[in-house]
Point group: C2
Chain length 222, copies 2
């Protein structure tokens, strides 16, 4: 990149960071815990979120979701079936969510009536990691179908995560998933990272995931 | 995006288009057919390329490969085992390849000694579609593990493709892959798009893919 582009990109990121800091203060004041879900396209964010919203609703936890997509409203329509408030953010060609997109889509929502707000980011392992959305927790998904080396190949995303979910674990055997290699790759990029293996399809690991996120929502410093 | 950012982005793309046009002329003059492989991370580009390079070498077709990655040289090391010339392009945080990166990595290669040059792009369904690399053919991969809706959700990538490979077809059943829905989604985004179902692991569809790409290399207008 030319120095001018680097400078401009830094300016954009700085402005985003300022907006995100404002959002973070607003979320904290309202007492809402905000979760940013990041991953490749097709790693299972939407199904995980669908099951998560339903389970938390049954448990009496008040949630809402913002879902990012380039063009369609498919995910919002799918998630709306859970009965919780859902809004679609269409980025029209932008490959990641930014703090101002989140801010604009919160209008009219009383955040103090929510316990957890989920944000499903665009499927992208690169630029999503550079944009702070004011979240309390960044969750990076890695599907067993993607290959164990992805954390090393896309380090910034996994490095900036607070927890990694290894998804589609029901396909581990048929994909010849090398569990040790995947854990080593994740922990190499972020030593000590909490890893949870899940299958939104079979339910495996969902209790651990739901327990983790609800405990964090009550006591973020845990 | 602000008008200034839009303007700057257009400028970058215009400059890239000019460079790509120059590259295209150079490739044509040298008689080398250039294939740009684009997809999500983990859809199987590297394994497909590994098998493709080996098969074409056995068939006496002279190939080389440029492989994009953010940080590692893993893919180049893996592909070098095929015995054909391979170079890694490290983008250091940029989420796509650009024409000038390709140009810089061609230095010292005599293109007139090659029949097909493969370029493995960064795993990204958004920005890779905006950057022309001077290729003769753009191949978009869609893995059966990613979900049938991805072409509609990331239309620009599949719309700009000359052929779509549905990869990991050996996992179709276990992933409950809906073949009709996937084809409909691809053809909705690009009517008439040639679709080839492949498994680099079992070899299914590889003959069709290799036949397609070698025929195109000999007679690009086919």
């Amino acid at each position: 990149m030319t120095p001018r582009i680097v400078e401009l990109r830094q300016g954009i990121l700085k402005k985003n960071d300022q907006l995100a800091a404002g959002l973070r203060g607003r979320f904290r004041a309202a007492g809402v815990y905000v979760v940013n879900l990041v991953s490749s396209p097709g790693s299972g964010k939407t199904l995980l979120l669908e099951k998560t919203l339903a389970a938390l609703k049954d448990a009496g936890i008040r949630t809402a979701a913002l879902v990012g997509d380039l063009e369609t409203e498919n995910d919002a329509q799918r998630l709306a079936r859970s009965g919780v408030p859902v809004r679609q953010i269409q980025t029209h060609g932008i490959c990641h969510l930014e703090a101002d997109m989140v801010e604009r889509h919160l209008k009219g929502w009383d955040l103090s009536h929510l316990d957890i707000l989920f944000i499903e980011n665009i499927g992208n392992l690169v630029c999503t990691s550079s944009y702070d959305l004011g979240e309390s927790c960044r969750v990076a998904l890695l599907s067993v179908t993607e290959g164990e080396d992805k954390p090393r190949k896309y380090p910034s995303l996994y490095h900036s995560a607070d927890v990694a979910l290894i998804t589609k674990i029901d396909l581990a055997e048929v994909c010849e998933f090398d569990r040790e290699a995947a854990h080593a790759s994740l922990l190499d990029v972020r030593p000590g990272l909490r890893l949870i293996e899940t299958s939104a399809k079979t339910g495996q690991g969902m209790e651990e995931w739901l327990g983790f996120i609800t405990r964090k929502a009550v006591e973020p410093e845990l």
